[in-house]
Amino acid sequence: MRYTILCYHNEEITSSWSEEEDAEVIECLKAVNRKWAKNFEPIVRLMPTTAATTLRKTENIVTDGPFAETKEQLLGFYVLNVESYELAVQIAREMAEANPGGAYELRPIALYYPNGVAIEDAPTP
């Protein structure tokens, strides 16, 4: 079963980290990645939301900034391939210990085309 772990955090906080503090957080997360290496698939860190634009589909216009104006922003995501939901939660817990603050949202994956090609016999999530 595949899950994404969507990483949410308050950007006011993450953007006040120094380069060293940021690197420290990444190192802590890497330790968890290494421990569960066989369960991790793509890992994506997004640029700050200041780099985001949003295409509003009904108006068909591009606006500046992220879609959701909330305290906590989507800052990245992981794809996990795990035998059970429990393991996904455990990994998320370990990541939370490595990087406290904010939240990890676990979402089961419905469709998964790792190479961007929607073929008939794509692997099942």
Binding site: E11, E12, S16, M47, V62, D64, K71, G101
Partner: protein, 423 residues
Amino acid sequence: MPQPPEPDWIEARLVGARPQAVAALLRYFRDLDLAEEAFQEACLRALKSWPKNGPPRDAASWLIMVGRNAAIDHKRKQARLTALPDEEAISDREDTEPDIAERLDAADYRDDILRLLFVCCHPDLPATQQIALALRIVSGLPVPRIAAAFLVGDRAMEQRITRAKARIAQADIPFETPGPIERSERFSVVSAMIYLVFNEGYTDANPKSERAKLCDEAIRLARLMLRLFPAEAEMMGLLALLLLQHSRQKARFDEAGAPILLEDQDRSLWNQRQIAEAFAMIDKAMLHRQPGPYQIQAAIAAMHARAERPEETNWAGIDELYQALERHAPSPVVTLNRSVAIWKLHGAEAALEMIAPLAEPLEGYFYFHGVRGNLLEQLGRNREARDAFGRAIALANTPAEAAHIRQHLDQLEVAPPPPGRAP
């Protein structure tokens, strides 16, 4: 049960919430000192309460409410000089998440923070005081760190900030919600201040020094502004410009701290993550079709960032962008910078001709004499080059700049005079 937060994370939250909280407190109290004291008090209470109760979901609102209540209590106590503090005044009402905070109008925050920054840029204040004040009030840097960044003593910096605050207290702070024209004026003043903060740090060779960290602080402030006003193309341009300049930090100085020229830098040391973010900002800004000086400067810096090797630099493109900049924001410094592109495109003679009229307006400008010396050296006019470098040294802003020019002078000493000229 939630884990009690670690002190480090409380600290990070306090730093993150600071601009918003101090800005809102300034709106309530209309007094910088009071706003700052109220914020300090709220932080002290947060350090006591959050480890026990867990951090509030909205740290800024919590700090605003607690800071406001604490300051009001304090005022009340002062009003009743002889009376004992009563139970009510020392109640621990801050331990519950203030629900009034939910009703604070989020839209106010944007203008609050803009106002807070704008207040720090009061035109009566010299630039150095503006920066010091913004770093103290908005970024919350402790005085010793600001003092270290400006290479002055703690006491001198403390006095500088106190004087700046006193000056602002006498001035009228505009508290009504700004109209579109005022807002855009505030924007350009604040942008200029952020750029000054960056430049203050830019010349420092040691990336670990307090001074060099001002670059990170400037980028943080630009991001903050952009989160509040996401559709400001010039703020996108400013952020892109700062990121591009900052991306070269590790390549810009040698081990002795002497500056390395752009064409001699090891480009593999350029920070590709910052460059990529800057490119994304420029792409976004272009959609607005409202070019301005920061966007053009960012586009020029991007031309350099795109060239994997110095000889791949698109000098014709850079020349065009400088011409555009001369139209948007004419200044002798812009023309001086353009002359470097002219040098690459048409040779030193043409560049020298171009900067000749700048001699008077840029008489006291280090880079003018540096560029002129370089051009003269290239043309073999060594005696004039030596004069120009001599003036540059006298005007150098840092010992490293002076040392760099001295190197040129040393080369001139050992270089044989060009044939056919008197030494």
